[in-house]
């Protein structure tokens, strides 16, 4: 068996998404964030994470999914995002955390091309884990502030 990585998966509108577990710093319950003026809708605001100011991205909103009220399972996954100008800490709001899977590199399949209708830049690939499909996200691409604009194309 080839080299495998662990992925933390979470639920978002019925689909299961995965992120590299080594990038996950912590999972915490949803607390009201302070909104930042004149930023896109999906930036929920900033939160205090033990003295550091961490921006929070609502992933449903970011993917253009239907907005739901935050409930008891709603969590913030705090991630380490690597960018050319240094590392950042950011949080994403998801419906619920799901599981941790071992996925080897060759189990991750290329995302099919949807042409212009859906941008798949921030998807690393699709993995089948026990009959389920898990969408593996490329969080560096997803959460880079410079790339934030590009995502709007995917929403439509």
């Amino acid at each position: 068996m080839s080299h495998s990585n662990q992925y933390l998966t979470f639920m978002l509108a019925g689909e299961e998404y995965g992120v590299d577990i080594l990038r996950v710093q912590e999972i915490k319950g949803w607390n009201k964030a302070t909104p930042i003026p004149n930023t896109p809708d999906y930036i929920q605001g900033v939160m205090n994470l033990r003295g550091t100011i961490v921006p929070i991205v609502d992933l449903r909103n970011r993917f253009g999914l239907e907005r739901v009220d935050y409930g008891i399972t709603t969590v913030v996954i705090v991630l380490k995002v690597m960018a050319s100008d240094g590392n950042r800490t950011m949080g994403i709001v998801v419906d619920a955390v799901s599981d941790v899977y071992n996925v080897s590199a060759d189990e991750i399949k290329q995302t099919p091309d949807f042409g212009r209708s859906v941008s798949v830049d921030f998807i690393k690939g699709l993995a089948a884990v026990s009959e389920k499909m898990v969408i593996i996200l490329d969080i560096d691409h997803l959460l880079n502030s410079s790339a934030i604009k590009n995502i709007d194309a995917m929403v439509n």
């Binding site: 909104p35 930042i36 003026p37 004149n38 930023t39 605001g45 003295g51 550091t52 921006p55 950011m90």
Partner: protein
């Protein structure tokens, strides 16, 4: 494992720069003719440790260079040489040169070889001349014909033995002993090739040496000592005076390069000013990257911290004990513990902040030299007085205040203090006074730069401002208003542009820099008596005095320094220009109203201006009234960056964490005002205002 010398470099450089500062201030205090032996000793020791260090770390050029300085100083120390003004000047130049050399070693950039060899040549000349009075004036470059005075010969020997040297029965120590008999010997070993311990072969020689031999020695006698090992080593024997001749030849072949340093100083043509300034920018650019900032903290401060942390641990264990089997009867005890914890935490915070605080002498130290050089160049007599050097200031603030201070001191020397004749004519002492003073006042540090010169010439300032169209014809500002004019961009009253000041870029930049630090600058000037610049700065950039305000369901913080006043809106004073722009009549001026919820795009709570609160603020010289829902507390807040994890946000300078753990944004007033000017921002609620007016 070989010893990685690089890990000590940082310390070496820091110490060396400190040593150079010490040498510089010592040299400035040194009176020609009547030299204080303690002072020379101090200078000598500083030179000596730089030499030793540079030798150890393999900075050969620096080592060689310092060696000559050291030798000179040594002779002065032993009264074998007189302390002349020329010698002091050359030594001062050498200190500068050495500083650049060390800087380029640290940054890994190329050093200015021409300058180094030129100054080294000057030093050698000085060294070779017993009669120091006949020295060429400082700045005259090419060394004279070499005089091979065997008495003062300095030999440089680079001795790199092959590994098998020891195996052949040769012992370097014995050779060095032999050399020592010939004259004064300095041995510096280079251990960089030392093998790892596991592969260390005791029969092999891993060392190499740099030797400096001083005395009446001939090449032959040195060679004789190395005769037996000639084939087993790399040997390079050079006389320092030979080196100098080589340099001189180099200079002649490249007159342009050699003249670079000296001519420029003497008569700055416009071209050379350009070159000079571009060079200055280069210089500033390079070290910025290299300064991975460390800070020297006094043991006292650290001991204080250790004590405090100790107490914190005690309280923590006490509380832990209390929590283990808590009973409601112990509530009082718990309260005590918590209040102790609070006090302790606060003290700890204050003390940790103090680590970043440095005495302002770090910024002041450069001025004696600068004033000395400038006044000599301009033929003025100026005494520099400094007080309050121990006033402490945050390191970041310190770094940013240096340039404005340099500018202001230059201005005082150049424009402020008059020439000796003019002073005599006014009945003032010929020697002018420039006074730097620093002290704490409230939560601020105040720095005053005052001179007893001519004061600002109001008429000339006014005339100049009118010429340049900075004020309208016929408009006569108040006295302070006139003084403020010099802070406008493009303003310079200097009739002649000198290389010292007067290029009209300056005072506006000074003001801008100080404002960027959250500070203020004001001028007090009395004609004929002198000028004072008074700078007020916050002690630290990490903490800010803020006014908490609420708008919608959010809490924001307005920096207290930006607030002029807060007032309740009187409806009759609100006017609408062209149906959109709201202005408020504040006494005799009209200020634009910024509705905070509009600019920040948040759901408003109260949109009716009537009876609402207006915070009058100033940013970038522009005033505005910010319409908010409520004024809350005033408190000190710790500034946290938004950019670390996010990006710059227009209108916001940072964030802070409030007592309840939530995040509140700190407003950046200048950028907020800019934001409100953008076309995207429109007054959505104009109708509401007109409706309420109609009612």
């Amino acid at each position: 494992m070989s010893i990685d010398m690089a890990q000590f470099h940082q310390t070496f450089f820091e110490e060396s720069f400190e040593g150079l500062d010490l040498m510089e201030s010592g040299l400035l205090d040194l009176d020609a003719g009547d030299a204080d032996i303690d002072l020379i000793n101090t200078i000598f020791r500083a030179a000596h440790s730089i030499k030793g260090g540079s030798g150890t770390f393999g900075f050969k050029r620096v080592c060689e260079f310092t060696h000559i300085m050291e030798t000179l100083l040594d002779e002065m120390r032993d009264k074998r040489r007189k302390v002349t003004q020329e010698a002091v000047n050359i030594l001062l130049q050498s200190v500068d040169c050495l500083r650049d050399m060390l800087a380029s070693e640290r940054n890994g950039s190329r050093m200015d070889e021409d300058r180094v060899s030129q100054i080294q040549g000057m030093l050698n000349d000085l060294f070779n001349k017993k009669e120091a009075s006949q020295l060429p004036a400082a700045g005259n470059t090419a060394p004279k014909e070499d005089n091979h005075d065997p008495d003062a010969q300095v030999w440089h020997i680079r001795f790199i033995p092959f590994p098998n040297l020891l195996a052949k029965g040769n012992d370097p120590v014995r050779m060095f002993r032999e050399l020592d008999l010939l004259g004064e010997l300095e041995v510096v070993a280079n251990i960089s090739n030392l093998a790892e311990f596991s592969s260390f072969n005791p029969e092999e020689c891993y060392l190499s040496w740099n030797l400096t031999l001083k005395g009446a020695v001939t090449m032959e006698s040195i060679k004789e000592i190395f005769e037996w090992v000639e084939d087993d080593c790399e040997l390079d024997i050079r006389s320092l005076s030979q080196e100098k001749t080589a340099d001189a030849v180099e200079h002649q072949s490249r007159p342009e390069g050699a003249g670079n340093g000296s001519e420029k100083e003497k008569n700055p043509s416009p071209e050379s000013i350009n070159r000079d300034s571009s060079k200055a920018i280069d210089k500033r650019g390079a070290p910025a990257t290299a300064e991975n900032s460390s800070i020297r903290v006094s043991i006292d401060k650290i001991d204080g911290l250790i004590n405090m942390v100790g107490e914190l641990v005690i309280i923590q264990s006490m509380l832990a004990q209390l929590g283990k089997d808590f009973d409601i009867d112990q509530l009082g005890k718990l309260r005590d513990g918590l209040s102790q914890l609070e006090r302790n935490t606060r003290e700890l915070q204050e003390n940790v902040m103090r680590i970043r605080m440095l005495p302002i002498s770090f910024a002041f130290n450069r001025f004696p030299r600068m004033v000395h050089d400038l006044s000599q160049k301009m033929g003025k007599q100026i005494e520099l007085k400094m007080s309050g050097e121990n006033t402490e200031l945050d390191k970041t603030v310190m770094e940013k205040i240096v340039d404005p201070l340099v500018h202001l001191v230059r201005n005082s020397v150049d424009h402020g203090v008059e020439m000796p004749e003019a002073r005599r004519a006014c009945g003032k002492p010929e020697t002018g006074l420039v006074h730097l003073n620093a002290y704490h006042k409230g939560g601020n540090i105040v720095i005053e730069i005052s001179d007893d010169g001519a004061g600002l010439n109001k008429e000339r300032i006014l005339r100049k401002a009118q010429e340049k169209g900075l004020i309208k014809d016929g408009e006569i500002p108040s006295e302070e208003g006139i003084n403020e004019l010099i802070f406008l961009p493009g303003f310079s009253t200097a009739e002649v542009v000198s290389d010292v000041s007067g290029r009209g870029v300056g005072m506006d930049v000074v003001k801008k820099n100080i404002q960027a630090l959250g500070g203020k600058i004001e001028i007090i000037s009395r004609e004929g008596k002198g000028t004072s610049f008074i700078i007020r700065l916050p002690l630290t950039l990490a903490i800010l005095d803020g006014q908490l305000v609420s708008a919608g369901d959010q809490i924001y913080i307005i920096p207290l320094v930006s607030i002029i006043e807060s007032l309740q809106i009187i409806e009759g004073n609100v006017n609408l220009i062209a149906g959109k722009a709201e202005v408020y009549k504040l006494r005799d001026e009209y200020i634009p109203i910024i509705r905070l919820y509009d600019v920040f795009n948040i759901p408003p709570k109260n949109t009716d201006l009537k009876g609402g609160l207006l915070v009058v603020v100033e940013g970038d010289g522009k005033k505005a009234g910010i319409f908010i829902d409520d004024l809350l507390d005033q408190q000190q807040v710790v500034i946290k960056s938004l950019e670390t994890n996010f990006k710059r946000v227009e209108g916001v300078s940072g964030a802070t964490i409030l007592g309840d753990g939530t995040v509140a944004l700190i407003m950046d007033i200048s950028s907020l005002i800019r934001l409100s000017h953008q076309p995207g921002y429109t007054n959505h609620n104009v109708t509401i205002l007109s409706a309420s007016k109609a009612a």
